[in-house]
């Protein structure tokens, strides 16, 4: 009996070109397509493969967010998760609060592995997995590009600045995924129908005894400074001459 818990965040779809609101109060999310954070989708795919390889007997998808987050959890169930839980909350939940919520779920569910994306593509924080591992006092293997499980130990290859690092960690543990871990499967129509019958529980922060308690205030959101468009050169000669005149190449 081995359970894998996958943490999923509902984010603006990665194909959407995000625009900043003119009043600086945030980015435009009304009427914008929402999806599972792509790194979390990779985490879910890996969890499903762990079940298919016989390591996991159950894959639980967990999320924190508004009621509409059920859509992303239904997608996770359609991809193959056995069960889902939504901790429903409308306000902002910072990574530390998210880690506290997931810790409560860990204590309830007793997973051998918690797997999630290395970062969400909205806030780009890259924190929740590490924070959960700290609060749980368990190993973390972040930015994973290869995961092998052997009994009570996982051997994880991580994408680090210097190359590929391999760690051996005792389970239970927290894993966060990098892009090249796998390619998530497509959802098939019959699976979407089947997913409607799967169990999706809803809890509140209060049910888990956690308060969101935000510590960081966003004062303003601005568009990034734009680079000036430069010149088009016609030939390689012209390019090299331009770079030489600016002292960039000798």
């Amino acid at each position: 009996m081995s359970k894998v818990m996958v943490c999923i965040k509902r984010v603006v779809d990665y194909n959407v070109r995000v625009r900043v609101k003119p009043d600086g109060s945030g980015v435009i999310t009304d009427g914008v397509k929402m999806s599972i954070n792509p790194f979390d989708e990779i985490a879910l795919e890996e969890a499903l493969r762990m079940r298919e390889r016989g390591f996991a007997t159950e894959v639980l998808a967990a999320s924190i967010g508004p009621a509409d987050t059920q859509q992303q959890l239904r997608t996770a169930l359609a991809m193959g998760a056995d069960r889902a839980v939504l901790v429903q909350n409308d306000g902002p939940v910072e990574p530390l609060a998210a880690a506290r919520v997931f810790l409560k779920l860990v204590e309830k569910e007793g997973p051998s592995i918690v797997i999630l994306g290395k970062q969400a593509i909205d806030d780009d924080n890259n924190q929740t997995g590490q924070m959960l591992a700290a609060l749980w006092d368990r190993p973390q293997a972040t930015f994973a590009s290869k995961i092998e499980i052997d009994g009570k130990v996982a051997r994880v290859t991580r994408e680090v600045d210097a190359g590929l690092e391999t760690l051996e960690i005792d389970l239970p543990a927290v894993l966060t995924t990098d892009l090249r871990l796998n390619e998530p499967r497509y959802v098939k129509l019959p699976d979407i129908m089947k997913a409607k019958k799967k169990r999706l529980d809803t809890l509140s922060l209060a049910d888990l005894g956690v308060t969101a308690n935000p510590q960081v205030r966003v004062l303003r959101t601005d568009p990034p400074p734009q680079r000036q468009k430069g010149v088009i050169v016609k030939t390689v000669d012209e390019l090299v001459a331009a770079l030489r005149s600016k002292g960039l190449v000798s």
Binding site: P139, T142, E159, A162, L164, R180, Q215, V218, L219, L248
Partner: protein, 307 residues
């Protein structure tokens, strides 16, 4: 948090120092954890504006594992108002674990300091910039977006001290190996010139066209995510939001279309050159010099003219 390895101080540390120096009145201390931090400490002591170097030497600290380092950093944090680490994979792995142990939020990728508790940071892959504030007086744990800061200059003379840190160090995480594609080339994150290739190069072999130019320029070689995904280049060569964020003097993008996540990684480059067959490629919107042409004629010619 100083980053170091093989007796060398990582260039990210000098950039974190510059970020810390923009906090008015800050006394700056660099903490180094390792098995023997003496050489890195000697280098760190020369950074201008740093008052002390704290060495925590312990065999368990090498190679650095976040789960082992974090409780030690958390134990030392009581003496500090701000705990900064670089937004490298080292810092990103470590700092959130430290913050959680301290029961405080962590700020990721600080790109500007507006006040001791107010910072600017990118979100949505750099498509928006947030100004964020924490409660005055609360301890701040953050990663510093190194591409946003110049390295601190030399000429300093910080005092070096050794520290014993009492913390329970876990045994549940063990280092196995590190494999590096590095073949003695300049480091992508500190090179003055970087030349990167995209999927248009078509094969790992064709990356040799870039290496030959890089050799002439003393440049580092990078790659787009598409080129890495296609197996043409190693993962540690990836430039972009999910790879390395760089700020060279000169960036040459060869056969890279310019997906937003790539542009995020290069927007602090001083001069950008784009070479692409497709004149409509988004990379031309940000390039200082654009050349529309076929890579397989342009790159050999570039190599010849730079000779």
């Amino acid at each position: 948090m100083g980053e170091h390895g093989h007796g060398k101080l990582n260039a990210s540390t000098a950039k974190c120092v510059t970020c810390a120096r923009s906090i008015a009145g800050a006394e700056i201390v660099i903490v180094l954890l390792g098995a023997d931090t003496a050489p890195a400490a000697a280098a760190a002591a020369q950074l201008a504006g740093v008052s002390r170097i704290l060495r925590v030497d312990n065999a368990a600290n090498s190679p650095p594992l976040a789960a082992v380092l974090a409780p030690q950093v958390a134990a030392m944090a009581a003496d500090f108002t701000h705990v900064f680490g670089p937004s490298t994979t080292f810092g990103k792995d470590l700092m959130p674990r430290v913050a959680a142990l301290l029961d405080v939020a962590q700020l990721s990728d600080i790109m500007a300091v507006e006040a001791a508790n107010r910072f600017r940071r990118p979100v949505y892959a750099g498509n928006a910039i947030q100004t964020v504030e924490t409660d005055a007086g609360a301890r701040i744990v953050a990663t510093v977006r190194t591409a946003s800061f110049e390295a601190a200059s030399g000429g300093g003379s910080a005092v070096i001290e050794s520290r014993d840190v009492r913390a329970h160090l876990p045994q549940h995480t063990r280092f196995v190996s590190l494999s590096s594609a590095d073949a003695g080339r300049p480091d992508l994150q500190t090179a003055r010139i970087v030349i990167s290739g995209g999927r248009a190069l078509g094969s790992a072999d064709n990356f040799q066209l870039l290496y030959r130019i890089a050799d002439k320029l003393g440049a580092a070689v990078g790659a787009s995510r598409a080129a890495v995904d296609a197996g043409y280049a190693a993962n540690d060569m990836q430039v972009g939001q999910t790879g390395k964020i760089i700020a060279p003097e000169l960036y040459i993008a060869a056969g890279i279309s310019g997906a937003i996540q790539h542009l995020t990684g290069i927007k602090d480059a001083r001069t950008i050159v784009a070479i692409n067959k497709d004149s409509e490629a988004p990379i031309f919107e940000v390039a200082d010099y654009g050349l529309v042409g076929d890579l397989f004629t342009v790159l050999p010619e570039l190599e010849r003219l730079l000779g």
